[in-house]
């Protein structure tokens, strides 16, 4: 597991939640996982393909998603599956967008696929070859889980471009 590929996602998640909720957040648990990921609440799965490849899962309990939604809306929101899905989807977009910005500015090029929201009880994409890092972030609204499996597929553009050309 390459920490330089994982760190931008952790930093982005930390920044997105602390800025969105106007309160400090804390990483309370960090572990490696080789099993198929078991969802804890409403999960957004985002696939990345290109110079780096893998997937990121952002996972929140429905009640945590509703608390976040209420905070962002500036008042109580109506409980429901749709608002939980919308909230997790937008949070995932923000986390991925911010981390992609960091990785892109480092010279990596890749495609990010739109978040797939999972609310059923099945496990999410993963396998024996997929070593993932699971991070639990404590926020004022409750725990948020981030599961990241990422690997290099190609060298970044900057390294390719600087390589001397041999005749």
């Amino acid at each position: 597991m390459r920490m330089e590929l994982i760190q931008p996602f952790i930093n982005a998640a930390d920044a997105v939640f602390s800025e969105s909720l106007d309160a400090p957040t804390k990483i309370v648990d960090l572990s490696m996982d080789e099993e198929t990921y078991r969802r804890k609440g409403v999960a957004a799965l985002i696939l990345i393909k290109g110079d780096i490849e893998g997937r990121v899962i952002l996972d929140l309990a429905p009640e945590v998603a509703l608390k976040v939604a209420s905070h962002l809306a500036g008042g109580a929101v109506q409980e429901g599956e749709q608002i939980a899905r919308e909230t997790v989807c937008e949070l995932a977009n923000m986390v991925i967008g911010n981390s992609v910005t960091l990785l892109n500015d480092q010279g990596f090029r890749f495609k990010v696929f739109p978040p797939e929201i999972h609310m059923n009880d099945q496990g999410l994409a993963g396998g024996a070859e997929t070593e993932a890092m699971v991070i639990c972030i404590e926020t004022p609204c409750g725990a948020v889980y981030l599961n990241i499996a990422m690997q290099y597929l190609h060298r970044r553009r900057r390294e390719r471009d600087s390589e001397p050309v041999l005749d």
Partner: protein, 150 residues
């Protein structure tokens, strides 16, 4: 909740906004901020094509435009709107803030860029700056959001 001096057009009417984002949740969040700034929502759109139609229908003072959207992305929508309305004031609002995206949007005619999650005080300053190409707006007396001048 911070208080903001309301932003007005030169005819003393509230600034009218078109909010473009495929996430209803994100649109609600931006609309909440617009109300904090004393603005009015002229229209909403969830994709670039609808944004163009809504722009032509509502003629907003400011467009808040997401980048990644279905059917037509925000940067293409900016290009098409600015081609028809050279004076359109469009602020890109996206979680993807890498340099290529920002430059592409500015080259197509966007006035500014703000990265999600949007902080009200950051968006407010950007809107003030974008509206400042109208000299009478800069010199106009300020009032708290929610108040209307007579």
């Amino acid at each position: 909740m911070p208080q903001f001096a309301a932003l007005f057009r030169k005819d003393n009417q509230p600034v009218r906004y078109l909010v473009v984002d495929d996430s209803v949740f994100a649109r609600k969040n931006l609309i909440k901020m617009i109300e904090m700034f004393g603005g009015e929502v002229a229209g909403e759109a969830g994709d670039g094509l609808t944004a163009i139609a809504e722009f032509n229908r509502t003629k907003p003072d400011i467009v808040l435009m997401d980048i990644t959207m279905p059917q037509m992305e925000g940067i293409e929508a900016v290009e098409r709107i600015v081609r028809q309305h050279a004076d359109a004031r469009i602020v890109m609002v996206s979680s993807v803030g890498y340099q290529e995206n920002i430059l592409a949007a500015l080259q197509k005619g966007a006035k500014h860029f703000v990265q999600k999650p949007v902080k009200p005080e950051v968006l407010y300053e950007i809107l003030r700056y974008v509206l400042s190409d109208d000299p009478s707006a800069v010199n106009a007396p300020i009032a708290l959001a929610g108040e209307h001048r007579s």
